[in-house]
Symmetry: C2
Subunit: 350 residues, 2 copies
């Protein structure tokens, strides 16, 4: 079997290049992959010299510029043609690699990918899909920030893509799809939400209706479709809550010795909860709808998260998610031209 080649944006992320190189080395040692670290050669070599790569294939591809986390995405992508991100995306465009992983500026990754790779045939807008740890395993949410003003058609296509992702990557046979809204009734929400509800209900997708924020992490459905503005805010609020709760508990513990012993005794249980709720296991988010495999990792990714994002990239290439998306969209377009959208089969409405 062909070994997959994955370009890793060596300079992208809050702790780049150190943590990124560390994660890339772990991936090179753990998986049968060819990894190309893209970025400033000297900096990457310095980091690499601290590691042992045992049998893994790992090389450096020089790129002189760096896009910072705070830079305006479109401006940065247009000006910095030799940035690690832009060069990694160029490698993908030229088919010198099969996927790109970046923990850098998310907006820049979306802009560079969309501008240089283009969209998959039939897809109107790209979206970011994230794998969420929930009470019942992994759920997907899309979009979490690429498209902050989606039309019903965009949201409908996000549902299609998430459905395919759930079937190919997570082997769910009939993934359930929910629309994130402010109430369960069909009449709830903005006009965009009401129209999207109609499109989903009238399709053959396994649509369970609107879900509320309360169910974002319960795993009530396999895929949550949401507005990119709302999805982005929800993820950041979640991060903030976990940080704040941890901070508050630590403050209280510092006042109370017995409670510190208690915390020590609880540690295994808490670590287990942490593992179950750790997004780092799921391997980053993916920009779906573009003509290529681009994984967008969290800016604060640990080396373990980078390793898992690289593993995820290989999985997505192997599963040919993009091929299935193109097939599905083309097929639906043909059906729609032949006859109007098929009526829902009324499956598993909860």
């Amino acid at each position: 079997m062909k070994v997959h080649r994955i370009a890793v944006d060596g300079m992208g992320g809050d702790y780049a290049p150190a943590v990124v190189v560390d994660g890339a080395v772990q991936a090179a040692n753990d998986f049968d992959l060819e990894i190309i670290l893209v970025g400033q050669e000297q900096a990457l070599k310095r980091e690499l010299s601290r590691h042992k790569v045992i049998g893994g294939r790992l090389s450096i591809h020089h790129a002189s510029q760096v896009i910072d986390m705070g830079e305006s995405p479109v401006v940065a992508v247009k000006k910095k043609k030799d940035s690690s991100l832009a060069v990694a995306v160029d490698l993908l465009k030229d088919k010198q690699v099969d996927a790109v992983v970046s923990a850098g500026n998310t907006g820049a990754a979306v802009a560079a990918s969309t501008l240089n790779l283009g969209l998959l045939p039939g897809i109107k807008r790209p979206g970011i899909l994230i794998s969420l740890p929930t009470l019942r395993g992994i759920s997907l949410a899309m979009d979490v920030g690429a498209n902050i003003d989606p039309t019903p058609e965009h949201l409908f296509q996000y549902a299609l893509m998430a459905d395919i992702y759930s079937r190919t990557i997570y082997k769910k046979r009939h993934p359930t799809i929910g629309l994130l809204n402010i109430g369960e009734e069909e009449s709830k929400g903005t006009d965009v939400m009401k129209e999207t509800y109609k499109l989903l209900r009238e399709s053959t997708i396994n649509f369970i209706g609107n879900i509320e924020g309360r169910d974002f992490f319960t795993g009530k459905c396999d895929c949550i479709v949401c507005d990119g503005f709302v999805g982005n805010v929800v993820l950041k609020v979640t991060e903030g809550i976990i940080e704040n709760l941890t901070g508050l508990i630590q403050k209280e513990l510092s006042k109370n010795y017995l409670a510190q012993i208690g915390a020590w005794l609880m540690k295994p249980a808490l670590m287990s909860v942490r593992r179950e709720t750790n997004y780092e296991e799921a391997g980053g988010a993916q920009l779906l709808g573009i003509n290529g495999v681009v994984i967008i990792s969290h800016g604060a990714s640990s080396s373990w998260a980078i390793r898992n994002a690289i593993k995820k990239a290989a999985h997505v290439i192997e599963s040919d998610v993009n091929g299935y998306i193109v097939n599905e969209v083309t097929q639906r377009e043909k059906n729609r031209q032949a006859n109007p959208l098929p009526k829902s089969e009324d499956v598993t409405k909860k």
Copy 2:
């Protein structure tokens, strides 16, 4: 001093009437207020007979109908003229009471109040303001669900109202205002957000710029202005996370005896965190912008939360929040007619 009269929707809430009556009795015993329980007389009497009201003033005002939590708000309000909610709002309109407290159907409370009481002069749309426990004390967020498709002008007025609320109720001298968005830069977000940013920056409001979801509970600013759709989803996601984490930790604890001892030792610290983060202390949300004082409590409110909501209602009456809002809006309208909006003094931009 005149004793404030507060109508309590006796049938509103997931655990009504029992919990509501309990909370009303506590308030009647704790505060110098006149409380009118509105709802089905027999049911309310039965609940009341289980309690002692020591010196408090508490009476029942009969209303034959009940609006359920799941009912369509506008339909319910139009059809059920003798519901506990509608009758409570009518009492307020007729000046037989000074405020209404309801833990029932939020949409119905918004609809009944807006339709029957009308808006304050100059205010374009009502919004729900909530008091959030944060790392640095109470912050306010508005709107959390009354207006899911706000214009920049609506959001600007929410900032004005939250500012006044923060000054009158929480005695903050120069409350800081942040706009909930997907990035801190002025260029971020939808057109509505960009336009709102401009209005806020050009006003005399102490605007600190955009804030991200991560800062929703850090108390980075005194008042968070947000789209009602986003605000509603954020609150519900937050509830879901807390419930899920609690559930996960309990599951892990059940597997591990030492961890159970640990949890017991940690209890005082955890209870303290719980107190600091308990929304029930803050006394419910308020529907602002309408011509009257209406407090909307969480559907799952405990009797303690109901008691605090009644206390909050009295506080809002006494502080004449609505009077200040009318003054401020009228004054600004006059200024705007005399000359364009004054340029920002560039205060405390963080």
